[in-house]
């Protein structure tokens, strides 16, 4: 009996033990499903929940942005729609077709200019690592509707171009009633990028969204 079961264990197909084929293929199929099929489904799926007029996006504790209706919110939370508190460090991404509007907020003790300098240093290191080149323009001032002045520069890369804008907001908010109010200042980096023609077509939307960034009590 033992000899029979040992022989069954060692039965081979194309040089492989038959008993090992089922579990190994199961794992392989699972890997393909998770690393190939799911990302493919995601890349061909479009957004069904467009932003509406009146929506306000929470960029970080105490900082908000009014998005242009018909853009899609890929990452982030709409005020009054999400239960989870938004902390001092948070990322938000808005998209419209091939255009990307990415906001990163985190505590930062410095000026908008020093924030942009730090962002430039990081970008240069990343571009070197990826072997990509990009040209940047001279800096210019950008002012929000509430009068907060930021610093911006434009960039031109191989496939995309766009702008990087840096603001530093005074603290006001807290992420939850149970948490202490924020003491440090909040740095906000906005990166808008896309193909040149799409950027020009949506210029007014983009400017309006940047100018709408404000401290929300």
């Amino acid at each position: 009996m033992m000899a029979v079961s040992a022989a069954r264990d060692e039965r081979r197909l194309l040089g492989l033990e038959v008993r090992t084929v089922g579990p190994a293929l199961l794992v392989l199929v699972l890997a393909l499903l998770m690393s190939v099929v799911l990302p493919s489904i995601d890349s061909t799926t479009s957004y069904r929940a467009e932003l509406r007029r009146g929506d306000v996006v929470r960029l970080a504790a105490g900082i908000s942005l009014v998005p242009t209706a018909s853009w899609d919110l890929a990452t982030g939370s709409i005020v009054g729609h999400a239960r989870s508190p938004v902390g001092n460090t948070a990322s938000t991404e808005l998209v419209r077709g091939s255009l990307r509007f990415v906001v990163q907020a985190a505590p930062f003790e410095g000026t908008p200019s020093s924030l942009l300098t730090r962002i430039d240093e990081i970008d240069r290191a990343l571009r070197r690592a990826r072997g990509r080149a990009a040209e940047t323009t001279a800096r210019y001032a950008v002012t929000t509707r509430k009068g907060v002045v930021g610093v911006a520069e434009d960039f031109v890369g191989m496939a995309r171009e766009g702008s990087v804008i840096a603001f530093v907001f005074e603290p006001l908010g807290r992420s939850a009633p149970s948490q202490p109010p924020q003491r440090t200042r909040e740095g906000v980096e906005v990166v808008v990028s896309g193909p040149p023609d799409a950027l020009s077509r949506n210029r007014d939307d983009i400017v309006a969204m940047i100018r709408s960034i404000r401290v929300a009590r």
Partner: protein
């Protein structure tokens, strides 16, 4: 062959104790799949690490150093708890590498991003913000880590013989995943804070403080459940229990990830994570207590002939094959606890040598036996 020798032989055969683990098995498809997915995972992780090394090297180095120390503590603890028919180091290392490289790079990184994005596209970003991680990660990550345990079971069927082995191996696989994820969170913490290394250290502290109810424990529970689900030659399959444990690991993982949304802005946001921690630890201890008896029985059967030979006493065998509290009470009750500890350590080494030599009376076994006698006289 005497009855005791026959029982010893049966214990070695049933437990797979002393069996060596060999990863390179060209006739085993699990070996090729393991290698392919570790290479694929390493390729994906390399892409991430090269970015981190270029722009956030301080945070990356801090993460590697801090979490290497955390890993050492947990590796010691898991080995400490695996005190009977221990899992070979090579098998444990193979599991750790699967969790560290393949489960993260070849499965979870891509799947989590895709599933969370699909939730955002279908139900809106706010829904994904609240529940995306809780609905994506527990399924993707537990299946990714569980896939590793299934491959190890196919590579080493003679070594994985009880749900206790699943618990221990799952802990190694989960720990690999946890440390890999921790390191990436450390440099991502800096990346999200304009390169601030201080933010990386905040992440390191938070992740270390919350490292007990984490991946090593989820996967330990999942691993024991998987072994119960498929059954082993001397452990009949209990599909209901096995499935319940695997689902429990996913559920607890999900509740942990949804803590922010469950607690909202209330002052009671700590209730969900604390409940998860309490449930996870209770389930882990329950599995530990309920899977050890077969391991203890194997130890008793393996060492019973040594009692007959007078090498170890019945009380020493009782302590050796008993629970940790039985072991501690035995040592405490001895006139010279240090000597008793030495004798038990030598007897444990003898048990491992007997298992390694398949129960044969080899020179190495005789030396190990002499070491027990010497420890008694020292």
């Amino acid at each position: 062959m005497s009855a005791l020798a026959a029982e010893r032989s049966r214990a070695i055969d049933q437990s797979g104790w002393g069996e060596k683990f060999r990863l390179v098995q060209p006739h085993n498809l699990a070996f090729w799949v393991y290698c392919a997915l570790v290479i694929a995972g390493a390729y994906v992780l390399y892409g991430q690490v090269s970015i981190a090394a270029a722009a956030y090297s301080g945070a990356l180095t801090s993460g590697i150093v801090a979490f290497a120390l955390v890993a050492l503590v947990y590796l010691w603890f898991i080995r400490y708890e695996d005190r009977y028919t221990t899992v070979p180091r090579e098998l444990a290392a193979t599991g750790f590498v699967w969790g560290f490289v393949a489960a993260t790079g070849a499965f979870a990184l891509l799947a989590n991003g895709a599933v969370t994005s699909l939730y955002a596209k279908t139900f809106g970003a706010s829904f994904a913000y609240d529940w995306g991680a809780a609905l994506a990660a527990p399924v993707d990550e537990e299946l990714a880590k569980g896939a590793g345990i299934l491959l190890l079971l196919t590579l080493a069927p003679k070594l994985i013989r009880s749900p206790f082995d699943g618990l221990i191996l799952g802990a190694f696989v989960g720990l690999g995943f946890q440390i890999s994820e921790d390191i990436s969170y450390a440099w991502i913490g800096a990346a999200d804070s304009f390169g601030d290394v201080g933010a990386a250290w905040s992440t390191i502290i938070v992740r270390t403080l919350s490292s007990i109810p984490s991946h090593w424990m989820y996967t330990a529970i999942f691993g024991a459940g998987l072994i119960w689900f498929v059954g082993r030659p001397d452990v009949p399959a209990r599909r209901g229990l096995g499935a319940a444990l695997m689902l429990a690991a996913m559920l607890m993982h999900g509740v942990w990830d949804a803590s922010g949304a469950i607690g909202g802005s209330s002052a009671f946001g700590w209730i969900a994570p604390l409940t998860v921690a309490a449930v996870l630890i209770s389930v882990f201890v329950w599995i530990y207590d309920n899977t050890q008896p077969i391991e203890r029985e194997w130890m008793r059967e393996l060492m019973a002939p040594e009692v007959a030979l007078g090498v170890v006493s019945p009380d020493e065998l009782h302590a050796l094959a008993g629970s940790r509290s039985a072991l501690k009470s035995y040592i405490r009750a001895q006139r010279d606890p240090r000597a008793a500890k030495r004798v038990l350590a030598a007897a444990n080494a003898l048990a491992h040598q007997i298992a390694r030599d398949g129960g044969a009376e080899t020179a190495a076994v005789q030396r190990a036996r002499a070491a027990v006698v010497a420890a008694r006289g020292a």
